[in-house]
Symmetry: C14
Subunit: 93 residues, 14 copies
């Protein structure tokens, strides 16, 4: 097992688990937010504009944490500095 | 155990677990959202248009986190850069 | 333990666990959705058409996450690119 | 430990765990659905036809996730492509 | 440790755990369903026929997931194709 | 460690854990069912006959999942086909 | 480590864990049942005879799952067929 | 590590864990029962005799599961048949 | 690592864990019981004598499960028959 | 690694974990008890004497389980009979 | 496995898990905050300005904990002092 | 790895985990107590003196369990008898 | 694996996990606090000044626990005394 | 791996985990306390002085458990007696 194989394995596992675990929270949080938005709309249809606007800002904030996880996964797969370093080492030799 | 076997095993396991774990959250979140939508519709049938529209936007947001997981799995299976690198190495030799 | 055996073992385990774990969330989510649909129908029988239609769209969305898991399992069992690569290697030799 | 033994062990364990874990969710989800159906029937006996029909569609959807798990288990036991490949290898030699 | 011993051990452990884990969900789900049936009967004794019939259909659906687990266990103990293959191998030799 | 010892150890552990884990669910489920039966009896003493009958059918259904686990344990201890096979092997030699 | 030692260790551990884990569920279930019985008695002292009789039948059902676990433990300690087999082997030799 | 040491270690660990784990359930169950008894007494002081009697029967039932665990622990420590067998072996030699 | 060291280590770990784990349940159970007693006293100060007496009997029952754990720990530390046996062996030699 | 080192390590770990784990339950239980005491005082300031007295008795009971854990830890650190035995062995030699 | 490979693997795994685990809390917390904001808006549309402003400050505070995790991940990937030290060592040699 | 290193490692890990785990319970318990105190004060400002006094006694009791953990940690770090014994051994030699 | 590599790996993993785990609590706690602040503002808009001020003090207290974790992570990455000691050793040699 | 490296690794991991785990409880506890304070202020703005004062005392008590964890971490990093002992050993030699 040379270095590159090990780096690749660690990157693959970390990328998968980061997205997998990191999407549980945002999905549940958005589920709650949407759920309350619907209940509020049914209760107070007149405030529909304010509720919808606040909902979208809130969803964007919650989605941002899912996007952090997705970004870290993408960095680990496609722009991994450790992998690039070892590629450079191998190529340069 | 050569490098390619190990990369393949890591990719298979990570792809499976990412989708498996990552679908628990969205499914529960969508369950809540749909559940409240139905309760709201029963409570305020007149707001049906607004509720349905908000529900679909919300479901799309929640579904997006499930899709992140599915995308990472597909990348790991079909467009894995680490696998491609080693294939290129093997072929080029 | 040659490469093909290891790939096969990893695929079998990942396929099983992906479907097994990934079905917990959708089943619970659909249970909630159906459960509220029934309560809403009992509470507001007149809105039956809207409730039923929204329920089916919602169930389809939730079922989709279970289907992602099932698809990943089927890909790992019947269209596994890593397995195919090694088969090709073995046959081509 | 030759390849066939290992494949067989992995298939047995994966088949068992897939069904075992994968039946927790559907059973709970159906329990909720049936439970609310009964409460709704007691509350609104007149809507009995609609409630029963919706309940059966819902149960079918939830049961489908349990069936995915059962199907994966059966595939792993009786139509396992990896096992068949190695049988073919052994026979063909 | 020859192949047959290992297959036997894996089958025994998988059969036990499948039934053990897989019975938690159905038991809880049926508990909820029966529990609500009783509450509904006390609340609306006139709907007793409908409630009882729906309860039995629901219990049958939930029980089916427990039966899947039991069936997989029985297959692994008494009709295990992997075990039969190795028996045939041993006998045929 | 010969084959028979290993089979015996696996059978003992699996038998114990199957019953141990598998009794948690039924016990809780029956606890809920009995608990609601008592509350319903206190609330509607006139429906006592229907409630009691439904309770007993429900308890029988829930108990059946505990009995599946117990049966699997007994099979693994007293009618284990794998153990019998090896006994036959040893005796026949 | 000869066979008898290993069988003894497995039996001891399995016997302990079976009773230990298996008593959590019944104890909680009986706690719920007794708890509701008391609340029902306080609410409807006139139905005391029916409530008490139903409670005892229910407690007997729940206790039965604890007894399954205890029976399995006792079998593993005092009537273990695997242990008896090896004793017979040792004595007969 | 001879046989007797291993049997002793397994017995000590199993005895400790059986009592430790097995007392969680009964303690919680009794806590619920006592807790409801007190609430019922405050609500219906006239039914005090019936409530107290039912509470004691219930506590005895719940305590019995804790006593099963304690009995198994005591058997494993002071009347362990496996330990006695090896003592007899050692002495008899 | 001779026998006595191993027995001592197992006894120390089992004694610690038995008391540590086994005190979680009783503490929570007593917390519930005391908590309801206080609420009942505030609600029905006239029933103070009955409530206090029932509380003390209940606390004694719950405390008994904690005492089982403590007794097992003390036996394992100060009256361990396995340890005494090996001491006797060492001394007698 | 001689015997004394191992005994010391086991004692240190067991002492730490016993107190650490064993303090979770009492702290939560006392939190509930104090919490209800305050709510009862606010609801029925006249019963203040009875409530306070019952609270202190209850806290003492709950604290006792924490003290069992602390006592076991102190015994394992400062009055460990196994450690003393080996010290005596070492000194006496 | 030289030092650089190990540092790289540890950094990759820690970066992934930090973001993955650390995003569960903020997502749920923001979900609650947004959810209550929507309910409050529906209940008191006049306080919309205050509610929105407080919501944004609160979301910023909660998001900050997610950002701590993201920052630590980025430091571990792109500005890792340990990695830099070893690069400097390798280059300087 | 000599004895002193191992004792030091065990002490460091046990000291850290004891305080870390042992502070979860008291913090939650105090949170509940303070939380109810504030609700009671808002509900019954006149009973402020009694509530505050009872709160402080209760917090002291709960804090005591956290202090047990802290004391055990401090003993393990600064007054560890096992460490002192080995220091004495080393010095005395 | 020399000392510096190991220190670096431990520091990286500990830094990541400390921030990752330690941010779950504060995020949830702040979510509750903000959530109640919004509900209180909607309920009592006149007390807006007091509520906002108390909220900010409370958020600062909760945030402080997240900052402890972040500080420990930063110390472990950038001001690690153990790492500095070994650097000094290496440089000084 | 010499002693100093091992002590350093254990200290780093213990310091990180102690703060990481130990901050979950206080953060949640303070979240509850602040949350109730806000609800109480909205409900009874006149008792604002008493509520605020009690809140701050309570937060200080809860924060103290977080500070215990932080103190233990700081001691393990900057004033570790075991580390100092080995430094003294190394220097003195």
């Amino acid at each position: 097992m040379d270095s590159m194989t090990l780096i690749a394995i660690a990157s693959i596992l970390a990328a998968g688990l980061t997205t997998g675990i990191g999407c549980i929270g945002p999905a549940l949080g958005e589920g709650w937010a949407v759920s309350t938005a619907l209940r509020s709309l049914a209760q107070q249809p007149d405030a529909s504009a304010t509720i919808t606007r606040t909902l979208f800002v809130g969803l964007a904030m919650i989605e941002s944490t899912a996007i952090y996880c997705f970004v870290v996964s993408m960095i680990l797969i496609f722009a991994n500095p450790f992998w690039n370093y070892f590629i450079a080492q191998t190529t340069g030799q």
